[in-house]
């Protein structure tokens, strides 16, 4: 415990690998703080903004008292900081007034630059009630830990050719082909531009504005961008075609391009638009009504604004935009002519990610614009209503501006809390809800997986069922490019771009500003840097210029393949992963290079298994994978020898690892999770992968090394059931607890506006000993169901209302915390944590690490378990051998042998998958482990001879016995069992109610009824559907057949009462019912029926339909015997 400085430093390094996993989240939020905020504010028109300030979280009231995350969790509040913006307000040409607006509070990501815990060491973290390994990356909203999902988006600034049926629906003449580019500005907001191909050979440029798509003839846009001539457009477009090329390698255009260029130009001419000014006027006329804030500007200004804000927003220069549009047209035609293949939108190659910081930047911008819009409307309304309103009075204006400003912070908070992006424009995002999720700390596997959703993706770690393949997890080595370089400094993209271009020019690239060169593939290739065409390079020269430090997508010349070019990407939010470069470097040694999915598709990467991966000698490998496990996510990497398992089993294990009941956290004492599962005696696995120690999984172990015997014993292990050793359970195996925190906030849920507070009743008989004088329970007290555990006093009446424990399980009070005193120093807000003991019982679920789950079917005592004659060992757990042949989880058998050898040797066994493919020469694992076992006097194959515990006789077969790491899953019978004999019934139908919570029954439905009918089990059927349900004896008048007209005759009942009083034997009273319709009791009979039938009769009566019963065997039975069923 008394750790020196040096050991704590090494501990930090130990967590470095773990920290890397959370990087994308935190880096992106840091970007938001450092840069995104300012850039975004600057891009908002028309307010001039100097600086936005975001403050670190502070406690209410007290200045400079920092607010720590733990306090937020405890008090169910939000970890947020104040958000202020300095602005200049100018009215017409009046003086500019500097003002600061308060936009409420923005949630702060934990461990970001504004978090108080940034850079804190383990000791400081523990001091503040956090885990020693706390990595942050999430927000705390209302006490809940929420994190922003990483979503897949289309790769930014890359023109993608697509064929999609829905494009035809854009209008008459549209085809299914288009080139789409998602342009991303500096402030991370994006506008998608679509270039549709028309049947007549022309193209339309489409983008979304104000909730609808605008489609412009491409010629107008071309002409509006720069001063140009028809000839120039024509030559630019047709430059990539030359007569002497046949349809050879790398030829992307056909002679049709000339005709199409003509059509595009004709379209513009038909509109009699010739000059740039004319085009701009045309556009401005069209857009002035929809562009906000430009109502009074002239058409040209509007058109310029449209071009700036909506057309290729990632580029500032109109020449660049023109060049890109020409390039996109060329690509579009190549796809139409099938000289280039369309891109696949679903391939990772064309995708990037949406990071939390970027999402917040974009959403905040949208909200601020919304604020301006709203304020404007308010001011305009006021100005029309109130003649004396002076726009030059900055104070007045300020009043209106600040009216809705606090909603900005609230909107961001609610976005993180609920995950819904409420915006009119949709922000160019693929989805509007489900942006955030709750970071569950059920166990570490589950927790860590939250942060790695979507990635350079793991093929194993995905759910089976509906979201299979849609919900993915990043591989353990995958990173996301960010705004920060490895030293933590902000990247200057402008600088990077300039130096890149300089290097490219040095390598032989011809710069082509301002105009696109008059030629194209296959002679030269266009060079794109982040979606900007910077030049062209002779296709023969290209092989020499590839630098190592950025994503270089070199799409080579091919016949009918992807549209060629050299695409360079430096932008953030790209996937990256490290591989080893085999190309000789200046320093000689092999080095690690970060590659992206776009370039990966055109790279030759070798797996270090010695094979050539099917590539021939023409394409020698230039790179090598660092280790084959790089394809697996963190959780998938923890399965030992997963390369020996059938693949779906590894998938199941990834699911189950996330459901295990393990160590959810070491700071459990300070946690306020609604439900936390905790294993009392976890162990570290004997057989483990390299990843296990790399990510410090020992801090959060999730299972126990159980001695497992694979044998069919007593039949209680059939069908995936398993027998546990009761004595082992007695000694603590798989024991666990559930911690439930109740947050009681009396100020929030005041009844009828009467405040309540915690208080103990003065009358001693009203309360139990568990409640202390403040009305809260005593820590350590055991509370049984329906016992009081806290009491609440009504401020108005002064009555004390005790609250009883719900459910059917006893609980211990683990912890009570009081949060603030709002109401006259009375307690109103408290957290009560209950602890429930969950020892293994029949029906609890367990699983190994190989997708082999099972339910405990018996707890046999030690003496009944089979035992080994030599060692005296009794297994902790018995599973059935039938679990193996069809599931083929060989690794579980290997684990058993390996763990046995490992425990004899006293060493952990490394079970990293694919290890054999990396080693030079390797035997099979069994050949390594077998001799080790034999040297300790055990069977080579891990089997043993066992004796029956019941009979003491030797069992005539060898039994596979060894330690296997077993996990206890969180599904427990105590939470799920549902049983009832009698109980609550429905008020109307008198049938049993449903629902486990209310002690209801399980529906015995139509199909169940059919089954019983088919079996002829009519007595059981009658019992289920009648006797145990809504059995009812109704009085029916056999004369009129009515079910509803029976009324009690009073005198009869009085007589009965008299007999009761006299103590006379109660004979069956004569008919004490009479039919109200027939005015006689003569025909009254009692009939047993389901109560719903009577209900039906009354419902029908309400509709004026009389239901008449005819009692048949009346004549056979004398009327006195009235019971019939």
């Amino acid at each position: 415990m008394a750790a020196g400085k040096s050991s704590s430093a090494s501990k930090e390094d130990q967590y470095a690998a773990l920290r890397e996993l959370y990087r994308p989240h935190i880096d992106s939020f840091d970007y938001f703080i450092d840069e995104g905020l300012d850039k975004m504010l600057q891009s908002i028109r028309p307010v001039e903004i100097t600086k936005g300030h975001l403050f670190p979280p502070k406690r209410d009231g007290r200045l400079d008292a920092p607010l720590y995350p733990q306090q937020c969790r405890q008090a169910r509040t939000t970890y947020h900081g104040e958000f202020k913006v300095d602005t200049f307000i100018q009215c017409n040409d009046g003086p500019a007034v500097r003002q600061t607006f308060n936009f409420g509070y923005l949630p702060i990501m934990l461990m970001s630059k504004l978090c108080h815990l940034r850079g804190a060491d383990s000791e400081k973290l523990i001091f503040h009630g956090e885990e020693a390994t706390e990595m942050g990356g999430y927000f705390i909203c209302g006490g809940m830990e929420r994190l922003v999902r990483i979503l897949i988006l289309q790769k930014r600034n890359y023109p993608m050719g697509l064929i999609r049926g829905s494009f035809v629906n854009r209008g008459a003449g549209y085809t299914d082909k288009a080139v789409i580019i998602r342009c991303v500005q500096d402030d991370q907001s994006s506008v998608t531009i679509k270039l549709y191909y028309l049947l007549n050979g022309s193209a339309r440029l489409g983008f979304w504005l104000g909730g609808r798509e605008f489609l412009l003839p491409v010629g107008i846009v071309l002409k509006a961008l720069i001063d140009t001539s028809d000839r120039e457009i024509f030559t630019s477009l047709t430059c990539c075609y030359s007569d002497h090329y046949e349809r050879g390698k790398g030829v992307v255009s056909t002679q049709l391009i000339g005709e199409r260029a003509q059509i595009i130009l004709d379209e513009v001419r038909d509109l009699s638009l010739f000059t740039r000014t004319e085009c701009l006027l045309h556009l401005g006329k069209y857009f002035r009504s929809v562009m906000e804030g430009f109502e009074k500007d002239d058409f040209e200004t509007v058109a310029e604004a449209v071009l700036k804000d909506y057309i290729f927003v990632h580029l500032q220069n109109n020449h660049d935009k023109f060049n890109l549009l020409i390039f996109m047209l060329q690509k579009l035609y190549a796809i139409v002519d099938q000289t280039a293949s369309p891109d696949k939108a679903d391939a990772l190659q064309y995708q990037e990610v949406l990071l939390p910081g970027h999402l917040i930047t974009v959403f905040l911008k949208d909200r601020l614009q919304d604020w301006l819009r709203k304020s404007k409307r308010l001011i305009v309304e006021e100005a029309t209503k109130n003649k004396s309103f002076d726009l030059n009075d900055s104070q007045e204006v300020r009043k209106f501006l600040s009216k809705t400003s606090a909603y900005v912070g609230k909107a961001i908070q609610s976005m993180i809390k609920v995950g819904k992006v409420n915006s009119q424009s949709g922000l160019d995002l693929p989805q509007r809800d489900g942006m955030t999720i709750h970071a569950e700390r059920l166990n570490f596997h589950r927790y860590i997986s939250h942060f790695r959703s979507w990635g350079f993706l793991c093929p194993v770690h995905t759910p089976d069922g509906e979201p299979c393949g849609l919900l993915n997890h990043m591989t353990s080595t995958c990173r996301i490019s960010s705004f920060y370089n490895s030293e933590g400094a902000t990247k200057d993209f402008q600088k990077i771009k300039m130096s890149l271009i300089a290097r490219l020019v040095g390598a032989g690239m011809a710069q082509l500003l301002p105009r696109i060169e008059r030629t194209g593939p296959p002679e030269v290739l266009h060079v794109h840097v982040d979606g900007c065409i910077v030049g062209s390079i002779a296709s023969a020269k290209i092989e020499e210029v590839i630098p190592e430090d950025l994503e270089v997508g070199y799409v080579p010349l091919s016949h009918g393949g992807a549209y060629p070019g050299l695409y360079l990407f430096t932008n953030p939010a790209r996937f990256l992963r490290p591989v080893r470069s085999l190309l000789g470097l200046s320093n000689g040694g092999p080095n690690i290079e970060l590659i992206g999915p776009f370039e990966q598709a055109f790279m030759e990467i070798r797996c270090p298994d010695g094979g050539d991966g099917g590539r021939n000698k023409l394409f020698p490998a230039t790179h090598e994978e660092i280790h084959p496990t790089a394809i697996l996510s963190v959780v998938a990497n923890l399965t030992p020898w997963s390369d020996h398992n059938q693949s779906p089993r590894n998938m199941y294990q990834c699911q189950m690892a996330k459901q295990t009941m393990g160590f959810c956290g070491q700071a459990l004492k300070f946690r306020t999770d609604v439900k936390a599962f905790h294993l009392q005696t976890p162990q570290t696995p004997i057989v483990r992968t390299a990843t296990y120690s790399k990510y410090c999984m020992d801090e959060f172990p999730s299972g126990t090394n159980a001695i497992v015997a694979v044998l069919s014993y007593t039949g209680y292990d059939m069908e995936d059931a398993m027998i546990l050793n009761k004595s082992a359970v007695d000694r603590g195996m798989f024991r666990g607890h559930i911690f439930q925190t109740e947050c009681i906030d009396l100020s929030a849920k005041s009844r009828d506006n009467v405040t309540e507070f915690f208080c103990k009743s003065n009358l001693s008989r009203d309360t139990t000993a568990a409640i202390e004088s403040d009305g809260l329970p005593r820590i350590g007290e055991n509370i049984f169901p329906n016992e009081q555990y806290y009491s609440v006093c009504n401020n108005l009446t002064g009555t004390v209302r005790p609250i009883k424990l719900k459910g059917s399980e006893p609980a211990a009070i683990d912890y009570v915390a009081v949060n603030g005193t709002n109401f006259k120093d009375r307690l109103q807000k408290a957290n009560i944590r209950l602890r429930r003991v969950r020892n293994p019982i029949i029906g609890d679920k367990f699983s190994s690490r190989h997708g082999q789950k099972g339910v405990c079917s018996q707890l046999w005592p030690d003496i009944d378990m089979p035992f080994s004659a030599n060692t005296g060992m009794r297994p902790d757990l018995i599973i059935n051998p039938h679990a193996f042949p069809s599931r083929m989880t060989i690794a579980m058998l290997l684990e058993s042998i390996a763990a046995k050898a490992g425990s004899l040797k006293g060493k952990f066994i490394d079970a990293t998958p694919f290890a054999s493919s990396v080693k030079e020469r390797s035997n099979s694992i069994v050949d390594e482990l077998g001799p080790m076992l034999a040297s300790y006097g055990f069977n080579y194959h891990g089997t043993e001879i066992l004796y029956s515990g019941v009979f003491g006789t030797e069992m005539k077969c060898e039994i596979f016995l060894g330690p296997v790491y077993y996990q206890r899953l969180r599904h427990m019978v105590s939470d799920k069992f549902q049983v009832r004999t009698t109980g609550r019934i429905d008020q109307i139908t008198r049938q049993p109610i449903g629902g486990r919570k209310y002690g209801g029954g399980i529906r015995f439905g139509e199909m169940e009824r059919d089954a019983l009918l088919a079996h002829g089990a009519s007595y059981l059927l009658h019992d289920r559907l009648h006797s145990c349900s809504d059995y009812h004896i109704a009085d029916v008048c056999s004369i009129c057949g009515s079910l509803l007209t029976a009324t009690v005759i009073k005198s009869e009942s009085q007589k009965k009462a008299k007999r009761d009083m006299l103590g006379l034997p109660t004979v069956k009273p004569p008919k004490n019912f009479a039919c109200q319709a027939c005015k006689t009791s003569k025909g009254m009979e009692t009939v047993a029926m389901p109560y719903v039938f009577r209900y039906l009769a009354s419902e029908l009566a309400a509709m004026n339909i009389k239901l008449e019963l005819r009692l048949s065997n009346r004549t056979e039975h004398p009327t006195t015997t009235s019971e019939e069923s």
């Binding site: 415990m1 008394a2 004492k669 009392q680 009761k726 004595s727 082992a728 007695d730 000694r731 603590g732 024991r735 607890h737 350590g780 211990a812 683990d814 602890r835 003991v837 005592p861 030690d862 003496i863 035992f867 080994s868 004659a869 030599n870 060692t871 005296g872 060992m873 076992l933 034999a934 300790y936 006097g937 055990f938 069977n939 080579y940 089997t943 043993e944 001879i945 004796y947 515990g949 019941v950 009979f951 003491g952 006789t953 030797e954 060898e958």
Partner: protein, 330 residues
């Protein structure tokens, strides 16, 4: 005894030969009986020989990192010296009290009070901190230390006595405190494993190994060596003088059939024949330290006897006494 079926008496007189007897370990042979008898003895030793263990814990203060249930469970598993357990009463049928643990016939009270004062050292609360009200019943390592202090003979394995740190219950950080009252009661392993006095009780059939010497002569030395090495345990050896395969330690044989399989693979079936003697067993007994191995065996025989008596007396409808509890408890 006159009731033996058909007038023929199947009564046998089992023989016991003790090979090794230490305080917590015993090895003995049981002959002239069958598996049912041997297994009954094993089962009784594990599950029905009574000991004393902490059963009821009243926690006064617990500010340690472990919760109350966890500490109570750990306390229960500490082996207590239970030599007197046979003479004690089960608290459920104790007349002196209603089983509330307040009488000396059925229960022993323990106290534990520990508080880590302000030093940076973590305080380890161990079984040595448990204070018993009855000197006869205390944690086993306390008893060991006591014996040691008296200068008497070391009751248990001497190697273990080197570190008398006791059994760790919980570690306390500065300012944390643990104070509790615990009541130990008599019980049997069938109810809860904490009352089981046996760490391991196992028996094996005595193997009978016959080597076909004629066939063995046909093997080369190399083959013989392979044969000997095919068994993972050292059952056979080669006599360095005669170079014959001899049985070195028959009891090391685990009935794994490895040698027989090897012989078959060599094309010499019947080279070695191994049979289990159906009527002789070799027992290995290890105790938790609550009682000595000798006591464990003797008490087990007593309990087994009582159980058999109960069966015999069932017809006579006699008073079963304490035995009834055993039968009902089972």
């Amino acid at each position: 005894m006159e009731r033996a079926a058909g007038g023929v008496s199947y009564q046998r007189f089992p023989r016991v030969r003790i090979r090794e007897l230490k305080d917590d370990y015993a090895k003995f042979e049981l002959r002239d009986t069958d598996a049912s008898m041997a297994n009954a003895l094993r089962r009784v030793m594990i599950a029905e020989v009574p000991t004393v263990a902490i059963d009821l814990v009243e926690i006064e203060v617990n500010s340690s990192v472990l919760n109350d249930e966890f500490i109570a469970h750990r306390l229960g598993l500490i082996p207590l010296t239970s030599a007197a357990a046979m003479a004690m009463r089960f608290s459920r049928d104790c007349d002196a009290c209603d089983g509330d643990g307040s009488c000396e016939y059925c229960s022993v009270e323990f106290h534990l009070a520990a508080r880590a004062t302000d030093s940076d050292q973590t305080l380890e609360v161990t079984s040595n901190d448990l204070r018993s009200t009855d000197p006869k019943v205390c944690p086993v390592d306390q008893a060991r230390a006591y014996q040691h202090a008296l200068g008497g003979t070391e009751p248990f394995d001497t190697a273990a006595a080197a570190d008398q740190r006791g059994i760790l219950i919980v570690k306390l950080r500065r300012g944390q405190e643990l104070r509790l009252r615990a009541i130990a009661r008599k019980g049997i392993g069938k109810d809860h494993a904490k009352w089981s006095p046996a760490a391991t009780v196992t028996f094996m059939y005595e193997p009978e190994i016959r080597i076909n010497e004629e066939l063995m002569e046909t093997l080369t030395l190399e083959e013989k060596r392979n044969l000997v090495e095919s068994s993972p345990t050292k059952v056979f050896n080669i006599d360095p003088n005669t170079q014959q395969v001899v049985v070195e330690d028959a009891e090391a044989y685990t009935y794994d059939d490895e040698v027989i399989k090897k012989a078959d693979a060599m094309g010499k079936p019947g080279l070695i024949e191994i049979n289990a003697k159906e009527d002789s067993f070799i027992f290995t007994v290890e105790t938790t330290g609550a009682i000595t191995a000798y006591e464990l065996i003797m008490n087990a025989i007593t309990v087994l006897r009582q159980k058999l008596d109960a069966v015999r007396l069932q017809d006579d409808d006699a008073d079963l006494g304490e035995l009834g509890a055993h039968l009902v408890g089972g």
